[in-house]
């Protein structure tokens, strides 16, 4: 590894570990608060508690319902599953979903059929956002259980608002965060040396490169994230707080007028003159890999690195954040209230947040997903494991990625999606 790469890697590591650090005081990662020492008795009880969970989990089969669209992620899950079987005799089977909503619908149907506390087909589910809201508001998740996982002590819920709130709802220990995402732009440095990072620059770029830009049609979550990101950036600072509150339908059209004007402006210069949109994020990625468009989107800073490694995109592909900050969120695992293998699911969830697995997950050759663990809570040895990961040159530096900004209130997602459909879907 060259010195340059090592430096780049260090910078990226800092970005990964102290997510949102630029919003905090400089150097805060080094002095992150240590967990308050617990009384001896409580610790002992926690230990015996966890031993009981391990004993109960032994021999259980955990059906982990997880999006299965990325062979790399599937392989990673398989690896962790093999480890779970080795250490704790927990068998984990990934139920590969094309859409998480399928499993959510199934859990709801099971509950409606009277299976509310057991007999469910899902033991652990990879989830966030509206799917979490759907299960949590129907009281179909089991918990709180985050505090019962020993390795949850490495997570500092206060370090990042995305860890404690998933969309509109507080997580309240009903979900285990296992990865962080930040919305960025994917570009080819050799083609677009100076990528447009603001709405104004992007509109100019699109008009100068007709037919070379598009975004997935909302309600695809990448498409919706793009709308939200542009809306935030188009609004003057004093109007942005309105986005943190639930939608006021009377004021929303006025507030969002700049977004629609902007979208209408770029539409004629978009791919196929904005008369067709890719149906989802992966479809847009394929288009970018094919050379049909020049810009794409990423929720993982490691996305370019892994696409390069698997030969899908040129080596000069990079990820960069939006000027002024990019929308960030976390993704979680949760245990349905009717899961049969709750103990086994806890054991596997705990493995997913162990420093060793979180470090492996950060490696762009394995996945390239940001860690939820706080550097300040890790031992020096674990920190070294993270430090030694080669993030590669395609991983954005801290300045490139920029600060993380919270998502608007989730009611905005629904409102923007409906309004986009009203304006665009009819053709």
């Amino acid at each position: 590894m060259t010195l340059w790469m090592r430096i780049a890697g260090r910078m990226a590591l800092a970005a990964a570990l102290s997510w949102g650090a630029s919003a905090q005081a400089a150097g805060s990662t080094a002095t992150a608060p240590q967990p308050a020492p617990k009384p001896q008795g409580a610790q002992l009880r926690a230990q015996t508690d966890w031993q009981a969970v391990l004993d109960e989990a032994r021999g259980q089969t955990v059906r982990f319902n997880a999006w299965g669209g990325d062979p790399k992620i599937n392989e990673f899950i398989e690896r962790v599953a093999a480890e779970a079987e080795g250490c704790c005799a927990v068998i984990v089977e990934q139920v590969k979903l094309a859409d998480t909503a399928e499993a959510v619908a199934r859990i709801k149907a099971e509950a409606a059929a009277g299976r509310k506390t057991e007999g469910g087909s899902v033991d652990l589910i990879w989830i966030n956002g509206e799917n979490f809201a759907a299960l949590r508001t129907a009281d179909l998740l089991w918990g709180p259980m985050l505090d019962r996982l020993p390795d949850a002590r490495f997570i500092d819920l206060g370090a990042n608002p995305a860890l404690a709130r998933d969309g509109s709802l507080p997580v309240d220990g009903y979900e285990v965060p296992w990865g962080l995402s930040q919305f960025g732009l994917v570009y080819d440095r050799a083609v677009t040396p100076d990528p447009p990072r603001s709405p104004a620059a992007l509109a100019d770029w699109i008009e100068a490169h007709p037919g070379r830009f598009t975004y997935p049609a909302p309600p695809d979550f990448i498409g919706s994230a793009f709308l939200k990101q542009m809306l935030i950036m188009l609004l003057p600072k004093d109007k942005r707080p309105a986005l943190m509150r639930p939608v006021d339908p009377a004021r929303a059209p006025d507030l969002t007028a700049p977004l629609w004007a902007w979208l209408d402006r770029i539409r004629p210069a978009m791919w196929r003159e904005g008369r067709a949109f890719p149906p989802n994020g992966p479809a847009l990625e394929r288009m970018q890999a094919d050379g049909a468009v020049d810009l794409g989107f990423a929720f993982h800073p490691g996305q370019a690195a892994s696409a390069i490694a698997s030969g899908l995109m040129p080596a000069s592909t990079r990820v960069i954040g939006w000027s002024g900050g990019s929308i960030a969120n976390a993704h979680f695992v949760a245990i349905p209230a009717n899961a049969d293998a709750k103990a086994g699911a806890m054991v596997f969830a705990n493995m997913l947040i162990s420093p060793e697995i979180q470090a492996a997950k950060l490696d762009p050759l394995i996945w390239g997903d940001m860690t939820v663990l706080s550097a300040g809570r890790l031992s020096e040895e674990d920190r070294a494991v993270f430090r030694d990961i080669d993030l590669g040159p395609a991983w954005p530096s801290e300045e490139e990625l920029g600060p993380a900004i919270p998502e608007p209130h989730p009611s905005w997602t629904d409102w923007l999606e409906a309004e986009w459909s009203r304006r665009y879907l009819a053709g």
């Binding site: 859409d99 619908a105 199934r106 149907a109 067709a276 890999a289 094919d290 053709g427």
Partner: protein, 566 residues
């Protein structure tokens, strides 16, 4: 599933005790097939209250979605049937070519719809294979890079790419059935006679053979129309996006976390059922019109040589479509074996078999499960279909009630399964092999019955009567005469049923609870991702099972057909 005849214990055409079995056959079929159907339909109706219909009506562009769906279904069906007929007419007098065409068509039938869609999309897109082969001739080179033209391919707003995709997939299906049917009705002899009267071969085929085999093809054509109306996997890849066709909107609504919108999805699915029924009724009306107008023309000698020309043109187009289908599958093979294949390289820059072999090893258990859960329904469906057909042969009145059998082909699977989910969960059957086999059987049975019905009914009954008069028992005559005569249609029907079973994806997700991973669920999950190479590898593995089935079926000689050829 007690009370169900096992694979070996049916006894058609037998002494009194066994005749009772034949009399009961429709009831047995109803008992086996009705529960999933009735449950699914009732559930779907129950989940779509009036408010759901109102919400659906208020969806932006829903009218255009409906119009598009109908347009796509009708156009794809008419074009597929016309091209299949033209090719069949072209090879009708040449048994060797007919046989080869039929085999090729059956191989293409085995390829999964989604895989063909992905292959075709890559073939025709401006960044796809055809444009890559055309190379610098088409690409503009701005700042030293090759830039593809910004053409609406695929996904044009009128659904033309989707129509093309459906034709590429459905035309081989109809072609295989048409060739099989014309062999059975003795098309060659009829053509010879017509030609000796001075008719051009193509005219003779359309005027003499086509009306004879149409009754055999009516239902498959209807199934093609209904499939075109309900397809989601092809429409996602090839269809328009502003707005998408009704089926795509129905599915995305059905899975919406908001219960009100999910109910609107159920309403949209029921609307698809209504459209399907309307399409079939108007098809029947059109058939009546054609028959009335065309009846007397059959006796008149054609004066203008328009028909042969049109037929030859259509056959040429049809062969082009076959070539496209083959190319789409070949493209998939390339993708599955490509190490790196980037635009604008006409061929992969490197090859790697590691992904395919690795995936095959990973997916072996899923492949075994897929084979099992497609084979079990076939093993039930084939004897059940035979039992039903023999029973109908005894008393034709029994055929009147067979309509509901085809309901699974008319109902969009997502709606049907969403309706079924509740009852299955309440009975505690979800995630069991029994529920999955039962759901697959509901879809597999109509295909098997459809594939078998006409050729079985039209099998020459005289040899069998002769065997009876020579003292064979009913069952003995059946095994000695009927079985050898129908073994090939039986095998083809089983292969079609098997391929329908392998392709089933939603039952495993919605009724199987994901507890029984199948090849189809793995392939669909992979297809949802970025890596086209992985998606292609999974799709190829998925196509191999039914392809093996069709290969086995095509190896069985057809005694009935061969005797006529001599």
């Amino acid at each position: 599933m007690t009370g169900l005849p096992g694979a070996g214990d049916w006894r058609p055409a037998a002494p009194p005790g066994r005749s009772r079995l034949l009399a009961l056959a429709p009831w047995i079929a109803a008992a086996v097939l009705a529960p999933p159907l009735a449950g699914g339909l009732a559930g779907a109706v129950a989940t779509a209250p009036l408010s759901a219909w109102r919400l659906l009506a208020a969806e932006p562009g829903i009218g255009r979605s409906i119009l598009l769906s109908v347009l796509v279904a009708v156009a794809a069906t008419v074009i597929s049937a016309a091209l299949a007929g033209a090719i069949a007419a072209l090879v009708a007098a040449r048994p060797v070519r007919a046989r080869a065409t039929e085999r090729l068509a059956l191989v293409l039938v085995a390829a999964p719809h989604a895989a063909v869609a992905v292959g075709l999309a890559f073939l025709i897109a401006p960044t796809g294979l055809l444009f890559r082969l055309a190379g610098g001739w088409i690409y503009t080179a701005a700042d030293g890079r090759a830039l593809p033209p910004d053409l609406p391919l695929p996904g044009d707003s009128w659904g033309l790419s989707l129509i093309a995709g459906l034709v590429v997939k459905e035309m081989p299906f109809l072609l295989a059935l048409t060739i099989a049917a014309q062999q059975r009705v003795g098309a060659r002899a009829a053509l010879d006679r017509a030609r000796s009267l001075g008719w051009p071969a193509a005219s003779a085929w359309w005027r003499v053979v086509a009306p004879q085999i149409w009754p055999l093809l009516r239902l498959p054509v209807a199934a093609v129309a209904v499939y075109g109306l309900g397809t989601v996997d092809m429409a996602l890849v090839l269809g328009p996006s502003l707005p998408p066709v009704l089926a795509v909107r129905s599915l995305s609504l059905l899975f919406d976390p908001d219960p009100a919108r999910a109910a609107a999805g159920a309403a949209a699915a029921l609307l698809q059922l209504v459209l399907a029924v309307a399409l079939i009724l108007s098809g029947l009306a059109a058939e009546r019109l054609v028959r009335r107008g065309g009846a007397d023309r059959l006796t008149v000698r054609p004066r203008r040589p328009l028909a042969p020309f049109a037929s030859r043109l259509a056959a040429g187009l049809g062969l082009l479509v076959l070539a496209m289908a083959v190319l789409a599958v070949v493209t998939l093979v390339f993708w599955a074996g490509a190490a790196v294949w980037r635009f604008p390289d006409p061929l992969p820059a490197g090859w790697s078999m590691a992904r395919l072999t690795g995936m095959a090893a990973d997916l072996a258990p899923a492949a075994r499960a897929s084979a099992l859960y497609a084979l079990l329904p076939v093993l039930i469906a084939v004897p059940l279909a035979l039992l039903l057909l023999e029973s109908q042969a005894r008393s034709p009145a029994r055929a009147v009630g067979e309509g509901p059998i085809y309901l699974p082909l008319l109902l969009p699977p997502a709606a049907f399964l969403a309706g079924l989910q509740g009852p299955v969960l309440r009975l505690g059957l979800d995630g069991t092999g029994l529920a999955l086999v039962w759901c697959h059987l509901a879809t597999v049975f109509p295909y098997v019955f459809l594939a078998l019905r006409e050729s079985y009914r039209r099998t020459d009954q005289r040899p069998r009567r002769l065997a009876r008069s020579l003292g064979r028992s009913g069952f003995g005559a059946w095994t000695a005469v009927m079985l050898p005569l129908t073994v090939r249609p039986l095998a083809v029907a089983a292969a079609i049923g098997f391929s329908a079973g392998v392709a089933q994806y939603l039952p495993a997700v919605m009724i199987g609870g994901g507890r029984i991973p199948l090849l189809a669920t793995e392939a669909v999950a992979t297809a949802a991702g970025l890596d086209r190479r992985a998606a292609a590898a999974a799709a190829l593995l998925l196509a191999m099972l039914p392809a093996a089935g069709f290969l086995l079926a095509s190896l069985i000689p057809d005694p009935a057909g061969r005797r006529r050829c001599r």
